[in-house]
Amino acid sequence: MAIVFQKPKTLTDATLHYCPGCTHGIIHTLVAQAIEELGIEGKTIGVAPVGCAVMAYNYFTCDMVEAAHGRAPAVATGLKRALPDNIVFTYQGDGDLAAIGTAETVHSATRGENITVIFVNNAIYGMTGGQMAPTSLPGQITQTTPYGRDTATAGYPVRICEMLSTLDGVAYAERVSVDSVPNIRKARAAIKKAFENQVNKKGFSIVEVLSSCPTNWGLTPVEALDWLRENMIPYYPLGVYKDKTGGDK
């Protein structure tokens, strides 16, 4: 029988701890596929965040380092400066990358660190049980915005790709989504390109992946993907925000 799909060899056999319907599993697979296809597993070091993906070090077969909340880009900087010929990536959520780790994100970007950042934006703090994230939408109900995010008191969501694309140090910034098969294909290409950029020493690459959180959004997995499409994509338009890599995009 012909094999049409199999788990990438760059994912371990550990059972993922993510909730049913969560799209972290898809994004893990896309990252693992990129590492496998580029043949870089042996020289790749991943940096796990604090958040739902805190145990990502158990899932990727490459060497892994667990960072403090928000500090993954700083840890990645230290690794990359010590091992400039290796491949270093971070895998971070919205609270990690766009709230507590904003300084580390912005400054690793503006320094043009030759690293790859996978930014999973699901508009909520998942691991701690559904609090408002820096990327929660206006009016979004969360545990800490029980009446909906009021922009008068809680401010507005942060658009990371737009913000980082203004920095000279950024080589590549693209926002993708994993809400549908066509979008997953685009996400797969973007993530691979973000790793290829590093192999080719192009500099700082970030892929923001719009992701769903059925558990904390209080929706079924299918409803959650609909919510992502109807609410998140209009606020966070998909596309390439910056590409100075001279690639074929």
Binding site: I45, V54, C62, D63, E66, E104
Partner: protein, 375 residues
């Protein structure tokens, strides 16, 4: 940096040019000597953030690292700098950061993670007055922080307290070696006085093979070994307790093998002064004056603050009649002196704080007060 001679071997001259012969005595500022000693120890990755009075450490690294293929990186914050150290240490290299008191407070998160991940590194604290923004003059008010609370959780770091520029250099070598050996962070606890003063110093050459293997490092497995994971998260309480207990078993070995102290005229001393770092130089002077006046004074100078050299103090408690801890703070190390003396003899304290350096006359007056009429 100024030199005894115009051309000094193996170091940077004032215009940043590296001249290249081996160890001779040079006149050097403490902060710059710290930096050069780290380089001599094999450090090629420095991550820092500007703060007074440690500025020259970073400035020296910025000048020197590009010339020797190393990394000098000015981070966006103290927090980022210590986490860059965590990343570089994970890769197995000798990494370093340097700061002064308020900056160390910011680094405590990262120090806890480094300790919890069993990573070696070197942290410099050139202390200034606190709390808060405090001041920029010399202080020893971070003793508690260095020995008890460099971050959350059950852990220790190695803490070395030099009293001369030469000892700073020597202890940087030791700190890196011990940090690697025991897989834990090491700190040089200096102060603004040691950082800013100049003294003649030599840099002993290290043997070529002084760096040990680090098979645990995340260097990329090259498809030749299972993946390495550097981590401090253990959600199972039994597993976490086991990890912490393993670390504390290592600490027991360190407490047995690694304490360092200088003993000065302790054998027949009736009053033993206890003092560390720059303060001990003033205390030694007061001890000499007291001796010339017929008072049997001596001094114990802890060189490692953790592990604290408690056995040296315990031994002195058998013969001395009292102890006086002299510090540039409101009385911090005196806690450890009291624990070691364990009620056997009275333990007194004298200190100045806020950036004020005690004078030999002030210390002598305290000795005379305690010794009563004794002359």
């Amino acid at each position: 940096m100024r030199h005894v001679r115009d051309h000094v071997p193996g170091l940077c001259n004032s215009s940043g040019k590296v001249v290249n012969i081996l160890a001779e005595r040079v006149l050097m500022k403490g902060n710059e000597a710290l930096a050069e000693a780290a380089i001599k120890s094999g450090c090629r990755h420095f991550f820092g953030y500007p703060i007074t009075p440690q500025t020259e450490v970073a400035a020296y690294m910025a000048k020197r690292m590009p010339k020797i293929g190393g990394t000098y990186l000015q981070a966006e914050s103290e927090i980022a700098a210590i986490n860059m150290v965590l990343g570089a240490a994970s890769a197995g290299v000798r990494a370093m950061t340097s700061s002064s008191s308020p900056g160390i407070s910011l680094k405590t998160e990262g120090i806890s993670y480094i300790a919890g991940s069993d990573l070696p590194c070197l942290i410099i604290n050139v202390q200034r007055g606190g709390p808060g923004l405090g001041g920029i003059q010399p202080s020893q008010a971070d003793y508690w922080q260095a020995t008890r609370a460099t971050g959350h959780g059950d852990f220790h770091i190695l803490v070395f307290a030099p009293s001369t520029i030469q000892e700073m250099v020597d202890l940087v070598y030791t700190a890196y070696d011990k940090a690697d050996e025991y897989r834990m962070p090491a700190m040089i606890l200096a102060d603004g006085m040691l950082g800013q003063m100049m003294e003649p110093v030599e840099f002993p050459e290290r043997e070529a093979d002084h760096l040990i293997e680090k098979p645990w490092a995340t260097t990329g497995h090259q498809n030749k070994r299972p993946h390495n994971i550097v981590n401090s998260l253990y959600l199972d309480p039994n597993e976490l307790e086991q990890k912490v207990r393993e670390r504390f078993q290592r600490y027991e070995i360190i407490k047995e093998k690694e304490p360092m102290a200088e003993e000065y005229l302790v054998e027949d001393a009736q009053i033993v002064l206890v003092s560390f770092g720059a303060t001990s130089r003033i205390v030694k002077s007061a001890v000499n004056t007291a001796r010339s006046m017929g008072i049997k004074a001596g001094m114990i100078r802890p060189i490692t603050l953790w592990p604290f050299p408690e056995k040296v103090i315990q031994k002195a408690a058998e013969t001395a009649s009292s102890f006086l801890s002299v510090e540039m703070n409101m009385g911090q190390m005196v806690d450890d002196v009291r624990l070691a003396v364990n009620g056997k003899k009275p333990v007194y304290f004298f200190g100045r704080t806020g950036g004020i350096i005690p004078s030999p006359a002030e210390v002598l007056a305290q000795i005379q007060k305690i010794m009563g009429g004794a002359k």
